[in-house]
Symmetry: D3
Subunit: 314 residues, 6 copies
Amino acid sequence: MDKGITQYEAGESVDCFLMIRSAVKSTAVNGNPYLTLMLQDTSGEIEAKLWDAKDETVKMYAPQTIVKVAGEIQNYRGRMQLKLRQIRPASPQDGMDAGDFVETAPLSQEEMADIITQFIFEMKNPHIQRITRFLLKKYHHEFLEYPAATKNHHEFVSGLAYHVVSMLQLAKSIADLYPTLDRDLLYAGVILHDLGKVTELSGPIATTYTAEGNLIGHISIMVNEIGQTAKELGIEGEEVMVLQHIVLSHHGKAEWGSPKPPMIKEAEMLHYIDNLDAKMNMLDRALERTKPGEFTERIFPLDNRSFYKPHFSK
Amino acid sequence: MDKGITQYEAGESVDCFLMIRSAVKSTAVNGNPYLTLMLQDTSGEIEAKLWDAKDETVKMYAPQTIVKVAGEIQNYRGRMQLKLRQIRPASPQDGMDAGDFVETAPLSQEEMADIITQFIFEMKNPHIQRITRFLLKKYHHEFLEYPAATKNHHEFVSGLAYHVVSMLQLAKSIADLYPTLDRDLLYAGVILHDLGKVTELSGPIATTYTAEGNLIGHISIMVNEIGQTAKELGIEGEEVMVLQHIVLSHHGKAEWGSPKPPMIKEAEMLHYIDNLDAKMNMLDRALERTKPGEFTERIFPLDNRSFYKPHFSK
Amino acid sequence: MDKGITQYEAGESVDCFLMIRSAVKSTAVNGNPYLTLMLQDTSGEIEAKLWDAKDETVKMYAPQTIVKVAGEIQNYRGRMQLKLRQIRPASPQDGMDAGDFVETAPLSQEEMADIITQFIFEMKNPHIQRITRFLLKKYHHEFLEYPAATKNHHEFVSGLAYHVVSMLQLAKSIADLYPTLDRDLLYAGVILHDLGKVTELSGPIATTYTAEGNLIGHISIMVNEIGQTAKELGIEGEEVMVLQHIVLSHHGKAEWGSPKPPMIKEAEMLHYIDNLDAKMNMLDRALERTKPGEFTERIFPLDNRSFYKPHFSK
Amino acid sequence: MDKGITQYEAGESVDCFLMIRSAVKSTAVNGNPYLTLMLQDTSGEIEAKLWDAKDETVKMYAPQTIVKVAGEIQNYRGRMQLKLRQIRPASPQDGMDAGDFVETAPLSQEEMADIITQFIFEMKNPHIQRITRFLLKKYHHEFLEYPAATKNHHEFVSGLAYHVVSMLQLAKSIADLYPTLDRDLLYAGVILHDLGKVTELSGPIATTYTAEGNLIGHISIMVNEIGQTAKELGIEGEEVMVLQHIVLSHHGKAEWGSPKPPMIKEAEMLHYIDNLDAKMNMLDRALERTKPGEFTERIFPLDNRSFYKPHFSK
Amino acid sequence: MDKGITQYEAGESVDCFLMIRSAVKSTAVNGNPYLTLMLQDTSGEIEAKLWDAKDETVKMYAPQTIVKVAGEIQNYRGRMQLKLRQIRPASPQDGMDAGDFVETAPLSQEEMADIITQFIFEMKNPHIQRITRFLLKKYHHEFLEYPAATKNHHEFVSGLAYHVVSMLQLAKSIADLYPTLDRDLLYAGVILHDLGKVTELSGPIATTYTAEGNLIGHISIMVNEIGQTAKELGIEGEEVMVLQHIVLSHHGKAEWGSPKPPMIKEAEMLHYIDNLDAKMNMLDRALERTKPGEFTERIFPLDNRSFYKPHFSK
Amino acid sequence: MDKGITQYEAGESVDCFLMIRSAVKSTAVNGNPYLTLMLQDTSGEIEAKLWDAKDETVKMYAPQTIVKVAGEIQNYRGRMQLKLRQIRPASPQDGMDAGDFVETAPLSQEEMADIITQFIFEMKNPHIQRITRFLLKKYHHEFLEYPAATKNHHEFVSGLAYHVVSMLQLAKSIADLYPTLDRDLLYAGVILHDLGKVTELSGPIATTYTAEGNLIGHISIMVNEIGQTAKELGIEGEEVMVLQHIVLSHHGKAEWGSPKPPMIKEAEMLHYIDNLDAKMNMLDRALERTKPGEFTERIFPLDNRSFYKPHFSK
């Protein structure tokens, strides 16, 4: 795809394939039903109205359908919309593949699996190593596919694994500079800290929260998993409690969802590494869409701040 | 014991048996070592200084030793102290028993066990009943002996079980008035909510926090136990998640240590019942020591408030 | 009324009587005026647009008019709307009564008056009894008709008295379990705590705040009333101050509108009983409209939480 | 009194009359009782230990006794103490008067009464004028004698009236600059805002809180008084509610004890005038004791800040 | 202009000149572009839709164009709108002047400059006087033209100077009542405190924040200017640091943008004077538009409160 | 020095040289003056009482005097004290050097200067490079000697430079992993962010705050310096504003003393790098003094948390 759907300016014409992310039927003020479609490619998404919402239409344009569209880009209250002139579902002859419309991590699942395996391989503490390896293996498939969140940061296919890979590299650099850190604990904490999200979230695409995600949360889910894994593997010793604590405390404060704050040095560092990587990801994505000399949109999880891109920025 | 040690006024003479709760060696400004003893009976405790702290003295007056003391009560900066004239360890002939010096719940362990068993017996949902019964049985001994906390409320031997019994009776009254409540869930929540304290705390006397208590906390400990119990008993179904949620959320807010707030009606009610019983316990204990027309000491966990006892109070 | 207006699904046809709760004239984007009607029966309310807002139309469809409507239910941005096909005011022949369209407490005014009178009758402290009886008598009519609030909980005709009756029963159960509580104080506190709302609010239907309600508030209004009642009845003694304190402090914290926090045991309990009953009322109403396995809408006064209804709920 | 007791430096000798503000009996580490005396003159107070606390001694040196002392000033942990060499109660021949040892406002009671009377005389709204005059007359004696607080600001004899006089002059200046302000309301608000303190506080000397002060507070006390006064004088009309609101809201925020925030322009201004005058009083008192180029002690009610006195200050 | 555009009621006809404050092109739900105009005169502003947004139309109705309009006032969701019947740009023959459509301070620039010059002239400390005079001269033109803010208070042409003039008069009154205040410091603080706004804001009309305003802020900008001015004028001595502190701290608290809280008496007073004048300005403007017996709109910077205008208000 | 003064256990004898850090004269309860000495070597400090405080004694044992002491270590209320048996000032023959008793950074000033120079040398943006080099040169001497704070972290001689060196290495690692970061900005931010401390603090030893430190603060001091440097060097362009912003915002939030939050990506990262290095320093120092299986003392700037050292820690 030469030019992503989010790179068009108002007034330009569009003629391309897109995937339906969501489709909501509503009723206009005049009583007629219509469909609001969110259409996406790997560059992001755009809204379009379909002024017809008969039952067969609704069925034809269900989420995850690939469509051929033609129309014009318009600015509606500050956000871009696609005014549809034509729309049809892609046919097999169009040779389209869902994977081509979904944003995904810049590394392949294999590359990421290799990097993480290498980190586990280097662990010296057998208890920590065995628990980490067991849990990663148990959720291997989901871990490599899920996003790290429904929005805000790393909210793309394989975002969870990609976030972990970045954090591992950051953890390694920091452990090189501060040699009193226990590398095994730090790496295990990075790998396990968000693994409960494979239960908390519904899946890699059109991601929402499961009931268990809402009522228990990924932190407690993974703390439980560590306890059960240790039992299954017959592992006893302080490492179990320490790993549970590191996962439990990684949000840093009670108000942010950690029932205990970090009380082990590596837990405190994990909290920092997690934040630093998540924020770099959010900032890079927001600044990509901003011209030098201008401010980004407000970024909600960064205290709703706008960031400035200096004129002399590369 | 006719008159408790905390019921003496300044100036009165004392001649009685007490138990040493703690003994701390310090050095006076002039360089001489001495012992600060906390001496207790079932009415409470009093401080005394022992102006000698030779090694054999320190050994002789270790915590949990029963001693015969004589001396005078004095007011030191607003708190009562016992100025010792004589002290000696009790001998076997004195016929003293440690249990006579320790505050304990007003119901016997058997009475409390019977009441709780009856509540479990009445449960209709077999999953909830089996998990509750299993965990209570697993920690039966500790549950009936531990306090509910190291301080603030129900901080006496068997305080945990007594708190649960009061809460069950309150839960029953409330369920009678609001028939949409699920009694099984509510009773199970009451019985399990603080059971993790038998791991969080060190024991029934001179209670402190264990490392696991500090790093994981009684809430997460019990959530894990419920998960493992369900696995062991082969129980599947939403009841497991719901019970975990009820325990997880019973502190009511993230800031108070619950990683998720109550999101099930019975969880919200459990939080209220827990608070109401704990506060009645604190208020009754503080007001017992206060004369009509006066204010209690400040009560820290009640937002550091003082409470007034009206003249017309019974 | 067999099926309430809020029980229809999108797509269903409607043909029934409803009462106009409010009617607001607006101008569409194209410059034409129209009416937005809120139509209610005892099950709740629904919005409808009337594409005509001539002066005579506006007069004909004023609030509290009963109308006959026919049309179709539609989902507009997640909320149900009634698309009107026909509308006309009810005529005398239709035999409709305003009372049939207004939600009201599940007990009759007489039943509630009887219960409350019985509680006052049982009071032993004559000062407390006389002040309570005097004030209840003074506002007898309004007390039995007013809602407990303009929204959130017990926001229906006679909601105030119904809230008081529930709280009295809860207070009785709690006093049975904790015998140190002064029943007279607790019952008087329950009966008087929100009585100032008959001055704070405008009336039983289409309720808003009066200027005095905004500037002084129901708490201070009732504290003043207690003082003046005592003066009128020639009552002196600490009971007056204590009753004033209990009303003054029943919101629990300065931030929530109580200039003094509870500093008397019964005041602390009143705050709990008030909260517990209000929350049960909100939860029951929200869960009634929720299917097992789903979450309620967010409930603003419950910290904006959604509540889950387990599959195994009755 | 040439040189006040707080103006001595460590090492200087003292030989003068002082008044006992408080006397507390304690027991030293070695078991001997002693008295801690707070001794005052109009410049402030100093602590002294009396190494004898026999019953007759305690009686002889009760609070509000005037004593002749001789001794030396010493610095004890950063605060001045008086090391007593000699002490005796003043005899009638010494010709001492309690009033000479108590700090008092810089204006006489008569001067202050005259100024305030003049402000009331200038009021044009008869309702506001009559209520204000009635209440001032009712508490005339206490109003002119009480302090404005137990500590922090205007905590001296007649401090309440002096605070009101300063505020009235400030209110007049501000009303001259902002002519839309209603002078009658503003002046009445200034005069009545703290008048409830004559019930809240115990008296002009050694001031503490009364039970009514603790449980109801000066704000609600005065709101009630205004209501009863209006009733007694047969005054009806919005002025009553508005005066009540102005008193009710003068602490500015719920957290600071006002159940309603200011919602009338003059109420908002009263809050500012009150704060401004109180802070000037605190700052002047703290800076008087500070040398140019240095910082004051921390001032608790000013957010615990220290203030700098520039070298070029007058 | 006899009757301001904000003084019309819904239903009235309008035929007058207005100035375009802003013009935003949007797309209607049906895909057609249109212009949303904000039209202003000195009484305030009103919204109007122009159902045509061709390129030449957009150019013709750019911001700051004066237009002749005819149409009708309508109430759209509680706010007034102008439904245009006719619109055309004013021609030279119409003899309109942009200055006639812009709200401006009630004093002329010359009057304000004279008053401020007089205050500077009266300063006795030459360091303070020279720095203040230099900076005022440097930004003389902008200072007399800029608003004090983009919204909330004194958001009109010359609002900054008018705010300073009011504050100087208030400062003088207060210094008359509290003679320990250093007038030079207080006056210099008033004059300089917001002078950085001439760099922070974009200009007197259609005011926005500059990049420097966003990234550095008017407080730090002016602190820097004071430092550089002192260097340029060769002034040394504590006055420089003290002036910097007074400007630095005038928002009162870290949360409100002052990196240091006031720690000099005159700094504390400046904070109060600034607030008091800003709030009087906001209250007067809101109450002007409110009838006796009613509440104003919510005023966001006054904690979002509504204010009541008593019936007996002048 | 074989064994540091903080490494002794209670009961051990001491015979060594120490430096007096502070000496405070006080008066005992019995009226006798004495000296409280804080004595230090590079391992930390210990308190000792000198029961004699004649004028010549006080002069002889002034701060920064090196003394020979003999005595015994005692535990006084949980903290170690040195009970002196003998003390004398060191004589020239003892050959002691003040530098041997003061904690200092683990790298020499030359090593640190070299590392920082290399980072400046690598900068590509000439504006950023020149401003950074100029300011570092201007304060070269103080920068290499000052601590980074009076307490909490890097509170030793050369602590400021050592903190900067660690942060530079961390910044480099992070920039390697996140290539969109502007290295010049990040390095300049690290070097300049705390440089204002050489004006804020009094010096490298016995460090306190200067008046300018209290009233203006190191952040605003350095923002001003950057502005004046740019003027002196004739540098214009956005780099000046951006560097000022990065220093201005490095505390991260208004509540923490930054008048503007980070609004440039490198400013956000600087805040993280600063925190991470400061916390590692605090944690390492606290955990050094803690045995495996135990908790550290509470660390105030880490939210007053205690940290656990696992048994399996290296």
